[in-house]
């Protein structure tokens, strides 16, 4: 019986070194795994904050983008008002338009210039092309829908007609 135990013991004796090495290896693996997880988490927190900031900016932009068609409609209405109109109701409605426009201005939303400008796809979207006497090819001849920037970035490009 003792002889049978001996090899067993011998193996056990040689084990500590290996065991230690194995433990060392595992310790390294676990520690690095932990450090990584910790770092991942901290980085994630940072990214998440960044993402939330971006999301807030984005959702505000979305909201403004949805408000713009209302301003567009006011502007269409304004265009349809006869030049010599003295109707006080019309005046009042147009003042509501000014309220909305001023609010958007205060929020950093600025109209994109089109009159007399060259067509630039960074700011304008061409919806039609027309022969126009006296207009140089590629210049904007008519603004169909106003475009806006928010804090210097395009919120919505201006829709325009371009001279052929």
């Amino acid at each position: 019986m003792e002889e049978e135990n001996n090899p067993e013991k011998a193996r056990e004796n040689s084990d500590p070194e290996e065991k230690l090495a194995e433990c060392e290896r595992q310790k390294h693996e676990y520690l690095s795994g932990w450090q990584r997880a910790r770092a991942d988490f901290l980085n994630y927190k940072k990214e998440e904050m960044e993402r939330i900031r971006g999301f807030i900016a984005y959702s505000t932009e979305e909201l403004f983008l949805k408000l713009l068609p209302i301003l567009d409609s006011f502007e269409r209405a304004e265009k349809a008002v006869p030049a010599n109109s003295t109707d006080e109701c019309v005046k009042g409605v147009l003042n509501i338009k000014s309220l909305l426009r001023d609010f958007l201005r205060q929020e950093g939303i600025v109209e994109i210039q089109t009159s007399g400008c060259k067509f630039d796809p960074n700011f304008h979207e061409a919806v039609d092309e027309e022969e126009r006497a006296g207009a140089e090819s590629g210049t904007i001849v008519e603004e169909v829908q106003k475009g806006y920037t928010i804090n210097g970035r395009v919120l919505r490009p201006a829709k325009i007609k371009v001279a052929k």
Binding site: G33, A37, D40, Y44, Y58, S73, R76, A77, K79, A80, F119, P121, N122, H124, E125, A126, V127, D128, E129, S137, G138, V144, R153, P157, K159, V162
Partner: protein, 636 residues
Amino acid sequence: MDYIMAKILGIDLGTTFSAMAIVEGGEAKIVENKEGARTTPSVVAITKNGERLVGILARRQQITNPKNTIFSVKRLIGRRFSDQEVQRDKKLLPYELRESTDGGVEVKMGNEPSGGWSKPPEISAMILQKMKQDAEERLGEKIEKAIITCPAYFDDSQRKATKLAGEIAGFEVLRVINEPTAAALAYGLTKKKDHKIIVYDFGGGTFDISVLDVSADTVEVKATGGDTHLGGDDFDQKIMDWLIAEFKKDQGLNLASDQLALQRLKEAGERAKIELSTAVETEINLPFITSDESGPKHLYFKLTRAKLEELTEEYVSRSIELVKQTLGETKFGTNDIDEVVLVGGQTRMPLIQEELRKFFGKEPNRSLNPDEVVALGAAIEGGILQGEVRDVLLLDVTPLSLGIETLGEVNTTIIPKNTTVPTAKSQVFSTAADNQTSVEIHVLQGERLTAQGNKSLGRFILDGIPPSPRGVPQVEVTFDIDANGILNVSAKDKATGKTQTIRIEGSTGISKEEIARMKKEAEMHAAEDQRKREFIDARNTADALIYTCEKTMRDAGEKIAAEIKKEIEVKIDELKKTKEGDSAEDVKRKTAELSQAIQKAGSEMYKSAPASQGGNDEGGKNAAKGEYKEKQNSGE
């Protein structure tokens, strides 16, 4: 860190739109382009000044530059000029096509030297190059490797051309994978053996069906079908046609010849379509759409979901017909299909989902954004190649919330469900009665707001709390779950440091059926529990106020005018009676009345002798069975 693994970009190179994604921390996410959009129009142009534009900028100038604005080049890539498809598209595309010397296709975009005749892979490469640059800018590192997707029906030549496009753009293209396979990957459906999947892909301009057979590590495409010229744009057109017809009936004016009105109609129609995926009715309101001698005209119509379904029914039933046909090409029946996966924005339409549900008798997979699912899947393929997805350390989550019972048989959650473990959280509670020397901690698992109905995991008593007024002792209760789901709950009296703990094994090892049952029960009883909870909260607040009032009367009764004192006593009695009833509203009202009465007393006392009072009744509504919640903190 030993080395930094280069990221692999997953790219869905679409006919009308393209999207890109990467895997980060084991999860795929979309990478936005420079303009901040999650998809990029697959459009390229050369302007009159010889400037090259890609994506949204190219699209914005398309009308002024139709001959030099190339879109839908995917319809041409890797094809021979003599192909039927190419000959058909040639008639529809506004730009010039010609046969190349090797029998392929060439498109003309601009003039030499900035432009000229190009092969389709070169055009696709311009789109891919923009995506590469935008991704590098977004992620702040070089991206060299990519996985690009293509339709399942693409032949060898089309796949080679797609790969070539990636290489011209500067990528090492690790793989060109099928779009339906990518979609299945995004849903994690490729791990199961002997799984049959239908991918129903209804994009803006194309409709594709694929039947996939997943078996040990391979995904085999069993059949493909569809219509390369059927898409969401056809639905928009139907809405426009309807609006034009209705307006003509209504006003006698034809909007079809008014370019600007058409633009507005198209936008409004698409918006209405999107809205009708969630709402059953929407209005299309376009004031000042046009005018005649009599003045301005407005367009205002209501469009119901039912009407939209009626208008587009032919397309939906045609798509289902094509699904039948494609399935018919395999030996599978509808019952053999394990999963239905939806791709493409048009699949958000409820009618489409309903028809598929009816046809296959199962709920389609639609939890991921159908516009992004292919790019996500491509990124996951990249992640698998890299080992990032396969080797992620899987961490368990708590399937149900864990908490303790507090005053009035309320279940106060400490660790909410779906919290990743290991984790620890603690909260400080207090006593509900004066001179209470022990608290019972009853550990609960479940979503019910009342203690009953939740699973009881165990209970213990912490005693030896020094006698003091209610709300003064601080008992910190800590829940700690290790990675194996073993829960240790401890309660510590902060004054004496005395601690009691309980160890509960298997708090996460609860069967799926039981979790489902418990969640369902909580849902079923949610309203009733909410009512009970509200009442208990109101009663606890009332108790706390009664306690404060009685204490005030005892301590400073002589400083209060007799009539006010009398009023307070009456109000206390009333409130005591009311809280034995069952109306939270009544208790709240009576509490408010008593609160007003005691405030009168308070201001009178201040008048006679200004003194500071630090009492705060707010915590009273959380007063617990033996505990009174004061503040909470959570450990990491």
